[in-house]
Structures are given as structure tokens and as C-alpha cells.
């Protein structure tokens, strides 16, 4: 189907189903139950899952296939965001304008940064990209604050020109990002018994781009171009000796993955029209590396899982405070309750980084292939017979990087 072999088509269909049905999947607990705390099916977080999924899938095309570890991908996310907001300010509130300009602007930046950084490989490449990203951050934060509005972040205002639309609505409010009139923030809530499921227009716009981006990633992974990139990863020197110039291939991969990041930036501002300089900070670049490794670098679905995992922690675990803990352990005797809360306190709320760090260490130590390897091992437990094991091995060698 669609030029995919059976296994990829199945994976693709699973991703499509997960994305389309996410509002149900992510809201498993009734709204009034105490477990509603763990529901993730609200528009903001669902959009973030997809946007960072796109970001990570794009990053994986570079890191997973060529092995070039870019520590500066947040720069493209930021450039895309600023380009998007400027489109809203100058031209109009249609998200397609913003997204197209985001992707193009980040492509331009990626060509320049990639052309220079790809002259080196390994750690030197990482440092070069990190330096570029930090330069972009410093520029956005203070030097170019005329364009980026510095620390406050670039926002819409009442006196933007907006050539293809009104600067201000008739009732004095600012126009909101829309797709030919469909407002990105429009949400329909479906109530079934005690459950409530949110269907958000912006989420499904992200979903279309995510599915398209994921499909493109599969095709790149399975193409001769993708094979060439894998060859770069396994032994670039040997390729040079055979007289092959790998630079065009790596640059193409760099630009493609930069464009994915730009797309993510464009989608971010389409959902919430504000671009802050923090988006370019090295911690953001590091985050996408974490997502990819946590999920499983070089696999198709891994980065998406990693992005979801990290965003879930950031948004759900950070909201658990001591009050909530006291609620959970109220059944214990007072002294014991306080002791348990005291022990758990560093790991919740603003301590979510600590919890995530520990989980990340556990994953890297025990599941070097990331969450995907964990999934494969669990599957393996259920269908392990000598014959199947052998078959799996051959399959694994067919797609070595997966």
C-alpha cells in the first residue's frame, strides 16, 4: 500500500490510528475520578505530542541514519517559529502561509549551517551546530530584539499590517490563526457518560502534517538515498576511498531534518502565536536528542514515542504537587503518610527532571535500543520459539538500523 512493504504499511496504519484516535486513547480516566490527573487528552498537550513528534522524526533522519549528532536543531525550531509569527503579522492568519514560510526559512538556515558544520564530523560537528544554535539564541534574545522582541517573545499586536486580513477584528479582538476560516483553537467536546473527549481543529491539522511527515520518513528510510545515509553512518571513510562524495547526501539529510524542525516551529506558532527565544536554547536541542535516544535512534516509531514520553512527563508529572500526594496516601497513618510524601517530594512537581533523568538512565543502560527495544523484548516474550527467533534475526538484518 502506498509503496510500502507489508511491515511498514502496518506500522504506518498503527501510527495513523493512534494519531486519529488519540483524544480517546489519551483520556482513559473519567473526568471526575482522582486519576483524571493522568489524562493527557487536552488540546495543548496533544498538539505538543505531534509537534515534537515531527521534530524528533526529522531529527532522526539526520541522527538515526547518518549518525551525525546535531546539538543545534532547536535553532531551526526557533527560526521556523519566528518566520511563522512574522507571516501572521505581515500577511494573514492562514496557518498554511505561516507553515510554508517556516519550512522555507529553516531550509535556508539549514543549508548555511549545514554547509559549514558538515565539513567536520563526530564531536566537532556537534560542537559546530551547538555554537550556531547558541549564536542564533543570543541574536534572538538581545541583538536582534527588533525582529524577535527579545525575552518577551514575538506576539501579534493590534497594529500589525496583515495585508491579507484585518489587523483587528470588528469587535476589537486580535484575529486567531485559522485554516481557511477554521480556527485552530476550535474544540468540540464529546461527553460519553463520565468521560469527556476533546476534538481540537489545531490538533487534527498537526495530525495531517505528522502523518505526512511520518510517511515521508518511511519512504526516505527505505529509499536508496536512505541506504546511502546508512552507509555514511557505518563507514564514511570507506565510501570516500571508493571515490564517492558523501557531502551532498549528508547536506541533503541535514536540510531535510532542518525543514522538519521548521515545520514543527511553524505548527507551534500556528497553535499558539507566540515565539520566544528560549525555543533556540541548547536545552531544547538536547531535548530532541533525548527524545530520539529514549525512543530508539534509527527506528521509525522510536522518536515519536520518545517525544510523547518526555512531553507527558513535562506536563503531567510537573503538575503533581504535595497536596495531590497527601490525597493519594491519605489512607496511611499520619506519620507514615508524611514520610512517604517527604520521600516522593523531590521526584514530583518541579522535580520531574529528576524522575525523567533516572528513567532515561535506566532505559539507556538496560534498553540501549530505547523504548522500541523494550517493546520488541516484550513481544518476544509472547512468541518465542526457536524458529521465530531465527526469523526475527533475519528480519532484523534486513533493516539493520531499526
Amino acid at each position: 500500500m502506498l509503496g510500502l512493504d507489508k511491515k511498514d504499511a502496518l506500522l504506518f496504519l498503527i501510527v495513523v490510528a493512534m494519531v486519529v484516535l488519540a483524544p480517546f486513547i489519551l483520556n482513559p480516566f473519567p473526568t471526575d475520578s482522582s486519576l483524571a490527573q493522568f489524562n493527557a487528552g487536552y488540546p495543548d498537550l496533544m498538539q505538543r505530542f505531534l509537534i515534537f513528534g515531527i521534530f524528533a522524526v526529522g531529527f532522526n533522519i539526520l541522527f538515526g541514519l547518518t549518525g551525525y549528532l546535531s546539538f543545534g536543531h532547536a535553532a531551526f525550531l526557533g527560526v521556523g517559529s519566528y518566520a511563522g509569527v512574522w507571516m501572521f503579522k505581515l500577511l494573514g492568519m492562514n496557518v498554511l502561509l505561516a507553515i510554508v514560510s517556516s519550512v522555507l526559512m529553516s531550509a535556508v538556515f539549514a543549508v548555511v549551517i549545514g554547509y559549514i558544520s558538515l565539513r567536520r564530523s563526530g564531536i566537532y560537528f556537534s560542537i559546530l551546530t551547538l555554537a550556531f544554535a547558541q549564536m542564533s539564541y543570543a541574536l534572538a534574545y538581545s541583538v536582534l530584539s527588533g525582529i524577535t522582541n527579545g525575552e518577551t517573545g514575538l506576539q501579534l499586536s493590534h497594529n500589525d499590517p496583515r495585508v491579507l486580513g484585518a489587523s483587528v477584528n470588528a469587535d476589537g479582538s486580535l484575529p486567531v490563526p485559522n485554516l481557511f476560516g477554521l480556527e485552530m483553537r476550535a474544540t468540540e467536546t464529546l461527553n460519553i457518560g463520565p468521560w469527556a473527549f476533546d476534538f481540537n481543529a489545531g490538533y487534527y491539522v498537526c495530525a495531517v502534517f505528522m502523518i505526512a511527515g511520518f510517511y515521508l520518513a518511511i519512504r526516505i528510510f527505505r529509499s536508496p538515498f536512505g541506504m546511502m545515509l546508512r552507509a555514511v553512518k557505518s563507514n564514511q571513510q570507506r565510501m570516500h576511498y571508493t571515490g564517492l562524495n558523501t557531502r551532498p547526501y549528508t547536506l541533503a539529510a541535514f536540510v531535510i531534518s532542518g525543514m522538519y524542525a521548521g515545520l514543527a516551529g511553524g505548527l507551534m506558532v500556528s497553535m499558539d502565536p507566540l515565539a520566544g527565544a528560549e525555543r533556540m536554547l541548547w536545552t531544547r536541542s538536547g531535548e530532541v536528542v533525548l527524545m530520539t535516544i529514549l525512543g530508539g535512534a534509527g527506528t521509525l516509531i522510536g522518536p515519536v514515542l520518545g517525544a510523547g514520553f518526555i512531553k507527558y512527563f513535562e506536563n503531567i508529572f510537573s503538575k503533581i504537587n504535595d497536596n495531590v500526594l497527601h490525597g493519594w496516601f491519605a489512607f496511611m497513618p499520619d506519620g507514615l503518610e508524611n514520610a512517604v510524601v517527604w520521600i516522593l517530594h523531590p521526584f514530583i512537581g518541579k522535580g520531574w527532571h529528576l524522575t525523567l533523568g533516572i528513567l532515561f538512565m535506566l532505559v539507556v543502560i538496560f534498553l540501549p535500543g530505547g523504548l522500541v527495544e523494550g517493546g520488541q523484548r516484550i513481544m518476544g516474550l509472547f512468541r518465542r520459539s526457536p524458529k521465530d527467533g531465527a526469523k526475527q534475526d533475519t528480519e532484523a538484518s534486513k533493516h539493520p538500523a531499526e
Binding site: 486519529v20 538581545s142 512537581g349
Partner: protein, 448 residues
């Protein structure tokens, strides 16, 4: 590229599947509009407290959260009622808001616009918060104010001192009780003239974001009006930690006053380093070198310790004020937490009460009704004397305090002494003041 084997059947099948999936939300539509965003149902109402729990302003954030918890306790009829008894409006009676018990959710702004907006969005979308309040940075306040306007909830700004919050970035759904840099400038200038004369050379170190720019601009305007000369202005990144490279050039610049447009942890560090470099023991142009910190708070004073003695600044409120309202607030805050509240805590507590009062007077949680109730609202008994919420820009007008680092503190909290209470009329500026132009309130948004 790899071979493509699209079959007509394959394309049709996939197309139909995708289309079906995308049409899902429209098929399963169930309208549940209650007139405005997050209209409270059941016996509770949820407020969202979005404060910095990490970063340079974390101290302020922690104190803000304490004040919010206290305000919620008082609104629900707990504790000693604090300023409820002194507040000139008697609409709130300690049974929650409009009979609904007040609950709250908290979030971390990280003093970062992106994170603050994400946290506010999740409070609105996930937790059903009807009002968002908090923040200890003007950049964050402006970003979150814009978000609340779009989402159709009320934003009661916490500690934000930039002119822009109620100037070029003002929004109909946003309200600010705290004062601003224009008011600081108006209040400080006469005191600076009386103490330091009218022939001074000033050097500005400024936090590089909306508040810093605004503060620097106001201080420049008012000190230059006194006859002072501005030697140089230098922008420093927020949360820089080490300011020594910015302070070293000050001594050689020919300036005799250093104006630190810094706040929170930044101000503690820059002031401490300026003092360690011996700036205050220095002579320049035949005068003693002095330092001015336009926006002061007790939390910062405690952080800076000895170094703040004799330094002038302005503040929104101070716990040593002797009116009944301030005493009542200090007493109930002190009873609960064991130390007096900061100005950040005060403004957050007051904002929560003002919101609850406006809802009660309006008889509705509808943001547009609340906006109407707050606009032009004249009140007293919340610690700042008679106060007006001006309808044209949603800024509160009230007395401003000029304070000085105390020479002989009697306790670890008694660090600032009030030099002057600048009356409300002096700090009131016209709506068409040039520093506040370039934006408009727009109209209130009640959301879906």
C-alpha cells in the same frame, strides 16, 4: 528512489480511511457551550496560579504561592479572614465565590514566556481554570495576558512592573494591581534630588527584557529632568549570575551613580558584586559614589544583606505599613507562615480578592461581566489606601512607597524603612502618556 506501486484500490482505500478519520470529530460533535470558557459547574470553581517556581525569580514565586493559598483559605471562610474585614467592598462573605468553593491548580512559569504559556494553557484546557493569575516577570505577564485574552479567561497580573503590561501590550481581559516604572520614576525623582542633588552622572545596568527597558527609560526620563546626565546604559541578560564583567567598567566611566534596573536574584547578585568591587566607597567627580535600585523588595533586601543599607528604591507595599488592612494581612500571613509577606505576596493576595469581589458584585463568572465590574472600581482597605482600577488601561492607581535600606535593622525582616509615601495624585499619569501608546485594550473576550 524506490519503486512506487500505487494501485487505484490502494489509494482509494487509504484515502477513504484518512478522510473518515479526519471527519471523525465532526461526526461525533456534541455541543456543550455554556456561554463562556470554563463556566464552573458543580459546587467548585478553579483558579490557576501560575508562578515562577524555578529561575531567578523563584523566591518571589514561592511567596506569591503562599499568598494565593492564604487568599483561597480566606475566601472559603478559613483562617482569620485577613483583609476581608478591612476591604471597603463587603460583597465577599467567606463562602467561596458566588457560593462555590474555591479550588486551585498551580503551575511553574520558569520565568520563561513559552513555559508560562504552556502551563497556563494546560490549566485552562485541562483543569478548567476560570481565571489565571501570577507571574513575577513582565515578559511572562504580557505573554500570558495575551493568551488569556485569546482563550477568554480573566488574567489578574501578579508582580509585573513594566509600563507595557498596561501600556502597549494591554488587553481587555488583563488587570494589573502592581505599580509600574512610570510611577517609580515619578516617586523616586524628588527623593533622589533631595539626597543627591541635581548634578549627577548616571550609569544604568539593565535587565534585557521588557521590564528592564521600561525601567531604564522611565529612570532616564525623570533623572534627566532633574539635570542628571546619563553616561551609559548597558543591557545584561536575565539570570546572568555573574555581573562582574558589567560592573568593572562602571568605575572608569566617570559616572557617580549606578542605577541597577535589576530584580530578584539578579539584583541580589549585581548589587552584592558592585559593593564588593568597592563602588560605594569610591569618590567620583568629587562626590560619594551611590547606587540606586528603582524597584525594591524585602526578599531582595534579605538576599543582598548588608549591602542594601542606605540605598533608595520604590516599592508597591511594605509590611511595616501601619494601616489596619496591612496590619491584618501581615498578622494572618505571619500566623500561617511565621514571617511577614513580601510585596509580591501582597499584590497577589489583593488581586485574588479583587477578582472574587468583582465576580460577586457582577453576579457572574462571565469574563465580560467581571471586566465591567473591575473597570473604574474605586476601593480602599487593601493596604494601599484609596485605589482606582482605571477603566481606560486596567491599571491600579494608588500611593507608591519610596524606601531605603535600613541602617540598623532590628530583625531579619526589618530591612527597609519607608522614606516617603508618594500620594496617588502625584504618580497618576494621563491615559495618553507617550510611554503607554501603541496598543489598545480591544474588547473583552468570553471565549466559547
Amino acid at each position: 528512489m524506490s519503486k512506487t506501486n500505487f494501485t487505484r484500490r490502494g489509494v482509494l482505500k487509504t484515502g477513504a480511511l484518512t478522510a473518515g478519520g479526519l471527519a471523525m470529530p465532526t461526526i461525533l460533535t456534541a455541543a456543550s457551550h455554556a456561554g463562556f470558557t470554563n463556566a464552573p459547574s458543580g459546587g467548585t470553581v478553579t483558579l490557576g496560579f501560575n508562578v515562577p517556581q524555578t529561575g531567578a525569580y523563584a523566591d518571589e514565586g514561592a511567596d506569591e504561592l503562599r499568598a494565593y493559598e492564604l487568599a483561597v483559605e480566606h475566601l472559603n471562610g478559613g483562617g482569620d479572614g485577613g483583609m476581608l474585614s478591612t476591604f471597603s467592598s463587603k460583597a465577599i462573605d467567606g463562602t467561596g465565590i458566588l457560593g462555590k468553593k474555591v479550588e486551585y491548580v498551580t503551575g511553574d512559569t520558569q520565568t520563561n514566556s513559552d513555559a508560562a504559556r504552556a502551563s497556563a494553557r494546560s490549566m485552562i484546557e485541562k483543569d478548567g481554570a476560570i481565571m489565571i493569575t501570577g507571574g513575577s516577570s513582565s515578559g511572562v505577564a504580557i505573554a500570558v495576558q495575551g493568551l488569556c485574552q485569546d482563550a477568554g479567561v480573566i488574567f489578574m497580573a501578579g508582580l509585573t512592573h513594566s509600563n507595557d503590561t498596561t501600556g502597549k501590550d494591554k488587553r481587555a481581559n488583563g488587570f494589573r494591581h502592581f505599580f509600574n516604572t512610570e510611577m517609580s520614576g515619578r516617586a523616586l525623582a524628588p527623593i533622589l534630588e533631595a539626597n543627591y542633588g541635581s548634578d549627577r552622572k548616571a550609569y544604568h545596568l539593565t535587565a534585557d527584557y521588557t521590564w528592564g527597558w521600561s525601567q531604564e527609560n522611565s529612570m532616564k526620563t525623570y533623572t534627566e529632568a532633574l539635570g542628571w546626565e546619563t553616561v551609559n546604559t548597558v543591557l545584561t541578560p536575565v539570570g546572568a549570575g555573574d555581573f562582574s564583567s558589567y560592573i568593572t567598567p562602571v568605575a572608569q566611566s566617570g559616572a557617580d551613580v549606578l542605577i541597577l534596573n535589576h530584580y530578584g536574584g539578579d539584583m541580589v547578585n549585581s548589587l552584592t558584586q558592585a559593593v564588593q568591587f568597592g563602588l560605594r566607597d569610591m569618590q567620583a567627580n568629587g562626590k560619594d559614589f551611590t547606587i540606586v535600585v528603582p524597584l525594591f523588595s524585602r526578599l531582595m533586601a534579605r538576599g543582598a544583606g548588608e549591602n542594601i543599607k542606605g540605598i533608595f528604591g520604590s516599592t508597591n507595599w511594605h509590611w511595616s505599613l501601619q494601616d489596619d488592612a496591612s496590619k491584618a494581612f501581615v498578622k494572618s500571613f505571619g500566623t500561617k507562615y511565621g514571617f511577614p509577606p513580601s510585596q509580591a505576596a501582597h499584590t497577589c493576595y489583593v488581586q485574588t480578592l479583587l477578582y472574587a469581589d468583582a465576580v460577586t458584585r457582577a453576579g457572574s463568572f462571565n469574563p465580560c461581566a467581571v471586566v465591567e465590574a473591575l473597570e473604574g472600581f474605586e476601593f480602599d482597605g487593601l493596604g494601599n489606601g484609596p485605589t482606582l482600577y482605571r477603566a481606560e488601561d486596567h491599571q491600579c492607581f494608588k500611593d507608591v512607597l519610596v524606601v531605603k535600606g535600613k541602617d540598623n535593622p532590628t530583625s531579619e525582616f526589618d530591612l527597609l524603612e519607608i522614606v516617603e509615601i508618594t500620594p496617588r495624585d502625584t504618580v497618576t499619569y494621563p491615559v495618553d502618556h507617550p510611554d503607554f501608546q501603541g496598543g489598545s485594550l480591544g474588547s473583552c473576550n468570553a471565549g466559547a
